[in-house]
């Protein structure tokens, strides 16, 4: 109900309570190594901190408060029990370098999680160390490179990505020293196989795909694509961001993939936390197994131990200081154990049902689908290009106006090649009631677009702030509080 809140630094004239057990001690450190200036930090009481951040939290939309159909992001319910159990004192107090024998409970969870992810992807082995999807991609492409290099095939530097690919795919390829080659999508949403064939060749390191793709459709030619890529000596990378759509229904290995990453913070419902932490576990087939990043949990003589560089001499190496985002892994483990096999398939079932239902309702309400002849996977794309042409109201305006209706916006303007697009992913944890309300809102907004477009182009109206000036933000970066509030240009 409080819609704005000062910067914490602006609570002046207050003093924190001392809380460390020792009082000030003489520093006994060389003078020239010490800070001379006063450290600028908030000086506030515990109540002020609690009140400030409690109020700030209330300014957020979140799964716990709002429908959040953000395509490609799988914003489903994050069970509270997963957090509770991952934060048990025994887990929280463990130092990452403590001996393995002191943490067998923790290690067993990770070992079992590795096995589950193996089975759910069909891969030969899994490493849990990548700390988000993008780091999983980096591990995967690095392994593809290592594989080619180990065969003296180091010239294979081309990584093929569809034009609809998520930005992390091409960015990852670059980070791995590869060259990105884009391949086009056909109007029906499948890949242009002919175009792909002309690209493939002796420089092909591999191809990165998600399936279902970021267009919300299942790539039907996946077998042909896999054959074509393998035929020229390339490998297939599976971006698992959309695994929720096919969980337990079809395994990446059966589609021909050699390496996959799984976004545990999407498919396995660990919280997005306002932007992380995530986890991007990678799984590989036999060919890439030697290159998996370390550490990996192994079971030896009935005990769980870390396998490291000495056990895995061909590993691409380490990606994190210790072993990755342990707490995220525990949450995913708890979630998976609660789902069970049936529960996993049910996730795919109902994620798909919800998406197709929503797509049907919107189509019947005369919204234009990007791929009207296709099934939705767990998400689908509406294009507002006609509305925009008729009224000037853009996809972004719809997005902002939805916020006024208490719903988070779908993903906008991604994938890039669909104009004025909304990528809508309801997830399996939302009820029919919520979906129906969403349809009603979109219908109402489209009516408004024709009758009173300004209502949309100036939306949102009821959020803590109105539409923000992004251009000003980038032109005159104000990225840190500098000691006194700046006057705002009213």
């Amino acid at each position: 109900m409080t819609m704005t809140e000062p910067i914490i630094f602006e609570y002046r004239g207050s003093r924190r309570q001392p809380f460390t057990p020792l009082s000030e001690v003489p520093a006994n450190l060389p003078e020239d190594a010490l800070r001379q200036d006063q450290l600028l930090m908030p000086q506030v009481s515990e109540l002020q901190v609690v009140r400030h951040y409690t109020r700030l939290s209330q300014l957020n939309y979140s799964i716990d408060t709002n429908f959040y159909p953000l395509g490609s992001c799988t914003m489903k319910y994050n069970p509270r029990i997963c957090n509770r159990l991952a934060m048990l004192p025994g887990f929280l107090a463990r130092h990452p370098l403590a001996p393995e024998e002191q943490g067998q409970g923790f290690m067993q969870c990770l070992f079992e999680l590795q096995q589950m992810l193996q089975q759910v992807t069909g891969m030969a082995e899994v490493s849990l160390t990548p700390m988000a999807g993008a780091q999983g991609e980096l591990a995967g492409v690095a392994m593809i490179r290592a594989y080619h290099l180990s065969r003296g095939d180091g010239d294979r530097r081309q990584i093929i990505v569809p034009d609809a690919a998520h930005g992390t795919n091409p960015a990852t390829a670059t980070m791995c020293g590869c060259e990105v080659v884009e391949v086009a999508t056909r109007p029906d949403g499948d890949l242009d196989l002919d175009a792909l064939r002309t690209i493939l060749g002796p420089k092909t390191a591999g191809i990165m795909l998600t399936n279902p793709s970021t267009l919300g459709v299942f790539e039907r030619q996946i077998e042909a694509i896999a054959a074509a890529v393998h035929d020229v000596g390339g490998l297939l990378y599976y971006d698992g961001a959309n695994l929720n759509a096919i969980l337990g229904k079809i395994l990446p290995v059966d589609m021909g993939f050699d390496v996959v990453h799984v976004n545990l913070h999407k498919t396995f419902s660990t919280p997005h936390g306002g932007g992380g932490p995530g986890s991007g576990a990678v799984g590989v087939g036999e060919r890439l197994r030697p290159y998996l990043p370390v550490p990996i949990v192994e079971r030896r003589d009935g005990a769980y131990v870390w396998a490291d560089e000495s056990d895995r001499p061909q590993t691409i190496g380490r990606l994190s200081t210790y072993m990755g985002n342990a707490g995220v892994l525990l949450r995913a483990y708890v979630y998976l154990r609660m789902l069970g096999d049936e529960g996993m398939q049910r996730v795919a079932d109902f994620a798909t049902l919800n998406a197709n239902y929503l797509m049907t309702c919107l189509a019947e309400a005369d919204f234009e689908l990007a791929f009207p002849e296709r099934r939705a996977s767990h998400e689908f794309i509406v294009t507002l290009k006609k509305v925009t042409r008729d009224t000037g109201v853009k996809a972004m305006d719809f997005a902002k106006a939805l916020l006024d209706r208490g719903m988070h916006a779908p993903t906008t303007y991604f994938p890039l090649m669909v104009p004025e697009c909304l990528l809508i992913e309801p997830t399996e944890t939302e009820s029919k009631q919520v979906l129906d309300a969403f349809v009603a809102s979109l219908v109402e907004l489209r009516e408004l677009a024709y009758s009173d477009p300004q209502q949309l182009t100036t939306a949102p109206h009821s959020t803590p702030v109105r539409r923000l000036d992004d251009v000003r933000a980038a032109k005159h970066p104000d990225l840190a509080w500098r000691g006194a509030p700046k006057p705002t240009s009213k």
Partner: protein, 457 residues
């Protein structure tokens, strides 16, 4: 059905509306030969009560020894308010703040966090976090190579005193882009300034330095910074944020200050939690901000002229720039940053300073106590912050094992990473250790050493 709200009637009505007989039909674009026949992966789902019981058993099977181990992750006391608030659903279950108007809470937290990081580091700008300390260091190397307009070199000079895993991770991440890490040798537990001149013959993009370094020792950061700048290189600081409450901030190192500072954010209110999630922080001079990886939040105004916050400078990022982005990072460690921001707010400048000084005092008490025992000496003379290396008269595992038997996690055995120091042990006592705790360590060590002294002597 776990977490699925559909009634049978809902499902039926939805299928009817779609016009299919059952859910199975919705998967009919998947080549049928590829479909899973039997899915046997984890067995039957557990109820919440069952998994709760299982995890309690697993967690309580794990020991909670008294921790004198640091080596990059530190057992600080975390006030209850930190995680009570960070795990509020509105922070916990929100996405990256792409729709700024619906995410002012997270955005303002990040803006405040960035402010605090610039204050800690003495630099101009900071980002919204990277994965962890090691990967932040790798990103810093890449950033330095991109940002250094004076040199085309892809070499980074990295001290042997830098956390071994940071160097290993950087190796993994930088290999693809052919960056070369060149080791700066050490003397008495610090970077050997005398060795620098020999390295200046070849061009380099940047010099890195960790403060305090892996051994807890204070590096000659002013000299290193000036030397790097003098030779056309940038200076990358890797610094412990708690230490920065009392140590000179990287922005003030040497004549011109470090160009980039990064490091592990875990000490700022993040539990040890077996290794993660933690977060990496990164700050830099304003001039090179467009080379910064990761998300950045800016303050701007809304339609009505009121202040508000939004993600900014996104042209650096993968979702806009794609293959030419500064990094592939997308999801970062938002929730950890929220916790760290609350932690820093609760402690304030005084609290951070007190925590830092208490760590220092406790570690001194431990080191002084231990070095009074027979067979234990300090490995280096250099001043240290809250960790120090002890040279032992026997293999470290012998002492560590005896301590473990008494529920004490006695430190980090350096023999694998630094065979030249063997036998040596890295110890740490944070502000969370009491005087009694330190006595327990000293007593246990004394018992072992005197006992075996009697046995052998």
């Amino acid at each position: 059905m776990p977490f699925i709200p559909h009634t049978a009637e809902d499902t039926a009505a939805m299928l009817a509306r779609i016009g299919v007989a059952d859910i199975e039909r919705l998967f009919d674009e998947i080549p049928s030969g590829l479909r899973v026949n039997e899915f046997d992966c984890i067995g039957k789902g557990l109820t919440e009560a069952e998994i709760s019981r299982l995890m309690h058993e697993r967690a309580s099977a794990d020991k909670q020894p008294l921790c004198f181990l640091g080596a990059g992750a530190y057992d600080h006391y975390v006030p209850a308010a930190v995680w009570d608030i960070a795990t509020r659903g509105e922070f916990y279950s929100a996405y990256t703040p792409y729709q700024a108007e619906a995410s002012q809470g997270t955005l303002q937290v990040i803006y405040e966090f960035q402010s605090m990081v610039t204050s800690l580091t003495g630099l101009d700008v900071a980002n919204a976090s990277l994965y962890d300390g090691a990967s932040a260091f790798a990103e810093a190397c890449l950033m330095a190579v991109r940002a250094n307009r004076k040199s085309e070199s892809r070499r980074i000079l990295v001290p042997r005193t830098m956390h071994p895993t940071y160097r290993a991770v950087a190796q993994t991440i930088l290999a693809g882009q052919s960056l070369e890490l060149v080791e700066l040798p050490m003397r008495d537990g610090r970077t050997a300034l005398s060795a620098l001149q020999a390295l200046a013959t070849e061009e380099f993009a940047a010099v890195a330095v960790q403060q305090p370094n892996f051994f807890g020792a204070l590096e000659p950061v002013d000299e290193l910074t000036d030397w790097a700048h003098g030779h056309g290189g940038m200076l990358i600081a890797v610094a412990n944020p708690i230490a920065l409450a009392v140590l000179k901030p990287p922005g003030k190192w040497g004549a011109d200050g470090a160009d980039i500072a990064c490091g592990e954010g875990q000490p700022l209110g993040i539990p040890l939690s077996a290794g993660g999630p933690y977060f990496g922080y990164m700050a830099s001079k304003e001039s090179i901000i467009r080379q910064m990886p990761g998300r950045i939040v800016g303050r701007t105004v809304d339609l009505d002229g009121n202040p508000g916050f939004t993600l900014t400078l996104q042209a650096r990022e993968q979702h806009i720039r794609r293959s030419r982005a500064t990094s592939n990072i997308c999801t970062n460690q938002g929730l950890m940053v929220t916790a760290a921001t609350i932690y820093m707010s609760l402690l304030g400048a005084d609290g951070l300073r007190q925590a830092a000084l208490a760590c220092h005092a406790n570690t001194r008490a431990l080191v002084e106590g231990l070095t009074e025992l027979p067979g234990i000496t300090r490995a280096f003379d250099a001043p240290y912050f809250h960790e120090a290396v002890l040279r032992l008269d026997r293999p470290a595992p012998e002492l560590l094992g005896a301590l473990a038997a008494q529920g004490i996690l006695g430190g980090y055995d350096l023999s694998a990473d630094y065979p030249e120091l063997e036998p040596a042990l890295l110890v740490c006592a944070t502000e969370a250790r009491s005087g009694g705790d330190i006595q327990r360590y000293l007593q246990a060590a004394a018992d072992l050493l005197f006992e075996s002294g009697r046995a052998t002597g």
